[in-house]
């Protein structure tokens, strides 16, 4: 156990030096790409905002079912099958048919090539499930259909969220999917997420619709409140143009009226429709509706054929900028709710770093002094090993560009405390061996061999705990699991290679000395 070949010594030295260099790249700037790596600081250390958003898919499902009823009616109309009493209740579509149509309706829904009810061969499932009781049918989304719907609305939502966050211009945001209905947004360096929160909280569903007094409007009407919450107006459900038709939107100052407005440009389809509507609707009020609230309802005075226009509504420059941003980035497929928020100011982050570093330095000093007093020369060996161990640990974290959090720093300090365990186990065992063994080398050899199982068991149990924490923990706690887990490996390396190397050099030079340890 005490013999080291020259090659092995070289390898150990190179390996240690390499990781010390990598670790020190956090402090200096290297031109080399390989060394130009840094440990990422977690949001709790550098300050920033963590937002977990949940997509509310209810309206999407409701909307899809609504569209489906129309599709079904039209589809069967062409086949001369009459669908009766079609209605939506609790996310189910109910309808009934005549006796002799029943089988053909079932066939359509159960056909694997049906375009009305897509089939996913990979999951052996249709999008919709159909149940029949007599002539009554119940239609709802299958498990797979629901998953499909959720993932697709998540895909759309994450795109819109990304655009909105990018438009605000924070540095290096991190936007990730979580499950099939959540989106995680990490915004480093942002200490006041208020603006982004309000931007993400809006669906930004924009429609232009006529104000009407005709209760028998062909498309139906609804009563909507104005943004100020006081006035109300009856608005047709017919949509003239919607946010999808917008090419661009910008905040502008209207010098004539001396107010801030949002000017917009429409795409070709939108421009055509807008032109037509404004030419037939002169004198009528056109309501601009955002997320179910009327921003303003100006009277149409002229035909607008240019495909551009403006929205006024008592905006400040800030609200106009935000509205333009929302319109440019598009509407969310479904409302988002912020279900978890954690924001740390940059000065608290810095305080945490300082406190963590002070605790690390003090903990380190205490352990080093303790070990030296207890074991003298072997304490010194342990201490040198401990320092190298710390650098290798930092080096590994740097190499993988791991994220360091405050609990992560605690994990490093804890590693310092526990890392001496393996050396202590070995040294204590050597002491025992020396009681009946006069040959120093044999005693040291025995000490290393006999303590091995205990060291292995002890470290594996801690590693198991760290692994569970890594998979079950979230955010900062994960950082703790990482440093604790990596710490175990670097500790074993430094104990069995570095400390053993020093020990072997010392022991072979003092072979005949009594009371070596």
């Amino acid at each position: 156990m005490l013999y080291f070949s020259k090659l092995r010594i070289l390898f150990i030295t190179l390996f240690s030096v390499l990781f010390i260099l990598i670790a020190s790249s956090n402090l200096f700037k290297f031109d080399d790409n390989f060394f130009d790596k840094k440990i990422n600081l977690g949001l709790d250390l550098q300050g920033g905002s963590y937002l977990l958003l949940e997509i509310d898919n209810e309206p999407v499902i409701e909307q899809k079912l609504q569209n489906l009823t129309t599709t079904i009616r039209n589809y069967f109309k062409e086949k001369n099958i009459k669908i009766n009493n079609i209605k939506i209740e609790n996310q189910n579509i109910f309808f009934n048919v005549m006796e002799n149509d029943k089988q053909s309706v079932l066939d359509v829904f159960q056909d694997e090539n049906s375009d009305l009810n897509p089939y996913y061969p990979r999951f052996k499932s249709h999008q919709l499930e159909i149940e029949d009781t007599g002539l009554n049918f119940k239609l709802n989304f299958s498990r797979q259909g629901l998953i499909q719907l959720k993932t697709s609305s998540q895909d759309q939502a994450i795109e819109i969220v990304r655009r909105r966050v990018d438009e605000v211009g924070t540095n290096e945001p991190n936007i990730l999917k979580r499950g099939n209905n959540r989106i995680l947004v990490e915004l480093p360096g942002l200490d006041d997420p208020m603006r982004i929160k309000s931007l993400l909280g809006k669906t930004a569903n924009l429609t232009f619709r006529f104000v009407t007094n005709d209760q028998n409007d062909r498309f139906g009407v609804e009563k909507l409140k104005f943004e100020n919450g006081l006035e109300e107006a009856t608005v047709s459900k017919r949509i003239i143009i919607s946010g999808e038709n917008l090419l661009d939107a910008q905040p502008k100052m209207d010098t004539q009226a001396n107010q801030t407005i949002v000017s917009f440009t429409l795409d070709r389809v939108g421009a055509k429709r807008f032109g037509k509507a404004t030419s037939t609707g002169i004198g009528k009020q056109l309501a601009i509706v955002l997320d179910g609230k009327i921003i303003s309802a100006p009277v149409v005075r002229d035909t607008i054929a240019s495909g551009s226009g403006q929205i006024s509504g008592g905006f400040t420059f800030q609200t106009a900028t935000d509205l333009a941003l929302l319109l440019r980035s598009g509407a969310l497929p479904a409302p988002l709710e912020i279900i978890e928020e954690r924001t740390v100011g940059p000065d608290l982050g810095q305080d945490s770093i300082n406190a963590g570093m002070i605790a690390l330095a003090i903990g380190f000093m205490l352990v080093i002094i303790f070990m030296f007093v207890k074991y003298k020369i072997f304490g010194l060996i342990t201490n040198v090993t401990l320092i190298v161990n710390l650098f290798i640990l930092l080096g590994v974290l740097t190499l993988f560009e791991a994220t360091l959090t405050l609990p992560g720093i605690a994990g490093i300090i804890l590693t310092v405390g526990m890392a001496v365990d393996a050396n202590v186990l070995i040294f204590e065992r050597i002491k025992e061996e020396l009681k009946d063994e006069t040959n120093n080398i044999l005693a040291f050899d025995g000490g290393y061999t006999k303590s091995r199982t205990a060291i292995l068991d002890a470290n594996i149990t801690t590693l198991l705990a760290a692994i569970i924490l890594f998979f079950m923990g979230s955010g900062p706690v994960k950082g703790f699991a990482v440093t604790l887990g990596v710490g175990i490996f670097t500790t074993l390396f430094s104990v069995y290679f570095i400390a053993r190397l020093f020990t072997s050099i010392y022991v072979s030079r003092n072979k005949n000395k009594e009371k070596l340890i």
Binding site: M194, A355, L366, I413
Partner: protein
């Protein structure tokens, strides 16, 4: 040699009492869950005006109809921790609070940290915390079962349960807050306590193979003594590191390091007085080990 085995019965009784008290506390008093597990909002606030203190903050927050508001000092004089349930899960609650506080305090304060956990997320976090602890206990049980005989495995697990339950009991007794980092601490305690037990068990097994004429009652005592200096040194260095975190690592890590300190103390104690006594009570002998050796 210290006669640890003289006190096996006394300390077994003490531990049983501690476990019963802890369980009663956990059942009747319960744990003080933080917003991670209960949901709600937390604001860490730093004031730069001496007018801002616990009572003036409490007054202001109580006027805002946020439900049950708790205001506490946090670390030094100028820092405060405000917690409330945010039952209606109001959307722009932080913005409203800022507007309200601005009216009375101007800009002589600063939000250093804001956490808002919705009821759904907190329920999930609690569930995954419980799963994590259960899973780690189960994994330890399996590991020790593979490495040792079942009597050892039972002893180690009882020691683990003791450490986890008594640590949580202390948290319940003093109404200390349970948050995500406490779960991390409990898991680390599980690892540490196991580590400590395994080292002694390893020695017990070795001695069982070596001596056929020594009774387990004596044998555990020999093994404890042989590994004692290691137990003391490792506990000492780990405690030194933890004390450094407790006193210098800042307010946020206080709960975590306290739980770990308790865990290390209980873990060291239980390795000696619970894990070993189980071996004695189960009358483990050389045969136990040899039979197992043959099977392998």
């Amino acid at each position: 040699m210290i006669a640890f085995n003289k006190y096996y019965n006394h300390f077994n009784l003490l531990s049983s009492v501690l476990i019963v008290i802890s369980l009663l506390l956990l059942i009747f008093k319960g744990l003080n869950f933080g917003i991670d597990f209960k949901g709600g909002t937390l604001i860490e606030l730093r004031a730069s005006d001496s007018k801002i203190n616990v009572s003036s903050l409490r007054d202001k927050f109580n006027q805002m109809n946020l439900g049950d508001v708790s205001v506490k000092k946090f670390g030094n004089k100028t820092d405060f921790l405000v917690k409330f349930e945010n039952k209606d899960n109001k959307k722009n609650i932080i913005g409203e609070i800022k507007v309200n506080l601005d009216k009375s305090f101007g800009n002589n304060y600063d939000f250093r940290r804001v956490e808002n956990v919705g009821p759904k997320v907190s329920a999930e976090l609690l569930k995954s915390g419980v799963i994590a602890i259960t899973l780690s206990l189960a994994l330890m049980l399996i590991y020790i079962w593979i490495r040792f005989e079942w009597q050892f495995s039972l002893g180690a697990i009882l020691a683990l349960f003791h450490d986890v339950i008594v640590t949580l009991g202390v948290f319940s007794l003093f109404s200390l807050e349970i948050n995500l980092s406490i779960i991390a601490a409990v898991l680390t305690i599980v690892g540490y306590s196991m580590n400590d037990t395994v080292v002694i068990f390893d020695r017990v097994r070795e001695n069982l193979r070596k001596y056929s004429d020594i009774k387990i009652f004596e044998l555990t005592n020999i093994s404890i003594n042989e590994t004692l200096s290691r137990t003391i040194i490792t506990s000492a260095t780990t405690l030194l590191a933890l004390l450094a975190i407790y006193f210098f690592g800042g307010e946020i890590l206080k709960g975590f390091s306290l739980a770990m300190i308790l865990g290390v103390v209980f873990g060291t104690y239980s390795s000696i007085y619970i894990a070993n006594t189980v071996l004695v009570r189960l009358r483990v002998s050389q045969k136990t080990v040899l039979r197992e050796d043959e099977n392998k």
